[in-house]
């Protein structure tokens, strides 16, 4: 089931005018910010489908930038997000794409600075609920409802066991887990949704595993 909580239906509390095009867009922007982990120097946003056709009317542009500035759906600063981003020296570029996507409300966000960049694709499925469907070229499904760990690692034996051992040691239960890779033996991504928030200590411990390249925790 896509919608698990009654507050997916009666909620979120948000700045209008559209739950999918405003609140959902803000949430996609905020997940991108979480994943990037710091203020980006630039944000390149591409809109597809209904997002591309109506983003100005729905305030999708201000909302998604508001999310990138780390604002929640009910944060009234969303209304001024574009000028606030300018004040913070974040370069914003928006593109309307013609390509047909699986979901009508799709956005692609690239955040970056001189140290690196991330690229993600998010969809807004209705009522403010979102899914992240792609990260740095990996297909993934992330409900955004539970704390999650995204672990970039080498596609080799022992990777899953190593990470699972650290989680078990800290008594963290895995609710949902997926592993994907672009090519055999190359870079792979582990997505782990957990029941509790995880400490930074645990993140560092996983990061210290020789097989692991990068760990990001989101949705606390």
């Amino acid at each position: 089931m896509k919608y698990k909580s009654v507050f997916d239906i009666i909620g979120p509390v948000m700045i209008g005018p559209s739950s999918s095009h405003t609140a959902g867009a803000a949430r996609i922007g905020r997940v991108a910010r979480d994943l990037f982990g710091r203020k980006p120097a630039y944000a390149h946003i591409s809109f597809y489908g209904s997002f591309a056709k109506t983003y100005r009317g729905h305030g999708t542009d201000v909302a998604i930038v508001g999310g990138i500035l780390d604002f929640d759906t009910f944060d009234t600063r969303i209304v001024d997000a574009l000028s606030l981003a300018k004040e913070q020296d974040i370069e914003i570029k928006m593109t309307e794409e013609d390509a047909i996507t699986d979901h009508p409300n799709t956005a692609r966000i690239v955040l970056g600075d001189e140290h690196g960049k991330i690229e993600l694709v998010g969809i807004s499925i209705g009522g403010g609920k979102i899914e992240i469907t792609e990260l740095n070229g990996f297909d993934l499904q992330l409900s955004g409802e539970h704390p999650a760990l995204l672990i970039v690692h080498n596609d080799r034996y022992g990777a899953i066991a190593g990470v699972a051992n650290v989680l078990a040691k800290h008594q963290i239960n895995i609710g949902h887990m997926r592993v994907s890779r672009k090519e055999k033996g190359q870079e792979a991504l582990m997505i782990i949704e957990v029941d509790q928030n995880v400490d930074q200590v645990l993140v560092e411990e996983i990061e210290a595993l020789p097989i692991v390249q990068q760990v990001v925790k989101i949705n606390e």
Partner: protein, 295 residues
């Protein structure tokens, strides 16, 4: 966990409790949170709704585009004249639904029920019932859980997104949710709630999402108004003992299939319907300051 309306009604009947109780229990089970935490979160949402309604019926709220605003106030004043044809309760609900959507269109703070574009129906009806039936605060919170339970089924088995299913998925769903919750608050049975939802949603089938200039204003605000009135009539019909010949779950399924076959131009793309009328196009050009022939 209930997967459809039939299971929801069955659970409530077997436990001899209300739909809202089943929704609260399920929320506790899924999230592991206490009943108090869940009730107080819903109470906070209720407060947001209350403030939006209050703002909309007392202030002249205007959207940035200038397309909507001030109608809730007009209706409240008209009601005071005592000349209304459809009755004070009905118009109170309608004006409070409009109030919420006017605040939403003005980028004010609202609570999505189930979406922002359809956020007027459930609170509109609820705050009119507050005047008519004098419910306790607990009963008002329960009203939101009852409507949430029906919305939960629609969201998982069909859609609550205008871009995916048209306005029938948004205002249609909200109307069905409100109708079912009115029945519970008015003392009806769980199966009467399901009948009310079915009757209400049946009358919203096929409704397209065609917002002028892509803004959640025209016709969204007035569709919420009509959704509120539709919900009240459907609830009254169900409370009178009228049943829907097509069961609620099948109506929801029909809504889903209609949404799938609806052309993209009529699903929140501002390319068809009212958005594509000469006046709709003119307004769009004016708002965005672009030449008409560019479109």
């Amino acid at each position: 966990m209930f997967r459809n309306v039939a299971e929801l009604v069955e659970l409530a009947e077997a436990k001899n409790c209300k739909i809202s109780d089943i929704m609260i229990e399920q929320e506790m089970e899924i999230t592991g949170r206490t009943k108090d935490e869940i009730l107080s979160q819903m109470d906070r949402n209720l407060k947001v709704m209350e403030e939006a309604v209050e703002r909309g019926i007392t202030q002249d709220v205007r959207s940035h585009s200038g397309l909507t605003g001030g109608d809730a106030l007009l209706l409240q004043n008209y009601m005071k004249s005592g000349k209304s044809l459809s009755g004070e309760f009905m118009l109170d609900a309608v004006s409070k639904a409009i109030a919420t959507n006017e605040v939403n269109a003005a980028m004010g703070t609202i609570c999505a029920t189930p979406t922002a574009g359809s956020a007027g129906v459930v609170p509109g009806v609820l705050f009119a019932l507050k005047e008519k039936l004098n419910p306790t605060r607990e009963q008002m919170v329960a009203f939101l859980f009852a409507s949430g339970a029906f919305g939960f089924v629609v969201a998982n088995n069909a859609s609550i997104s205008g871009a995916a299913g048209g306005c029938q998925a948004e205002v249609g769903s909200a109307t069905g949710m409100a109708a079912a919750a009115i029945v519970e608050l008015a003392g009806g049975t769980p199966s009467q709630s399901a009948e009310a939802m079915a009757i209400a949603l049946k009358n919203m089938l096929g409704l397209v999402c065609d917002p002028v200039a892509g803004l959640v204003e025209v016709p969204c605000v007035k569709r919420n108004a009509m959704g509120a009135s539709n919900a009240i009539v459907a609830a009254d019909m169900a409370l009178a003992g009228i049943k829907s010949r097509i069961p609620c779950d099948e109506v929801i399924d029909a809504m889903y299939k209609i949404g799938q076959t609806m052309p993209t131009a009529l699903k929140e793309t501002a390319q068809g319907g009212l958005a594509a009328t000469p006046t709709g196009r003119e307004l769009e050009a004016k708002i965005f300051g672009i030449a008409l022939n560019k479109k």
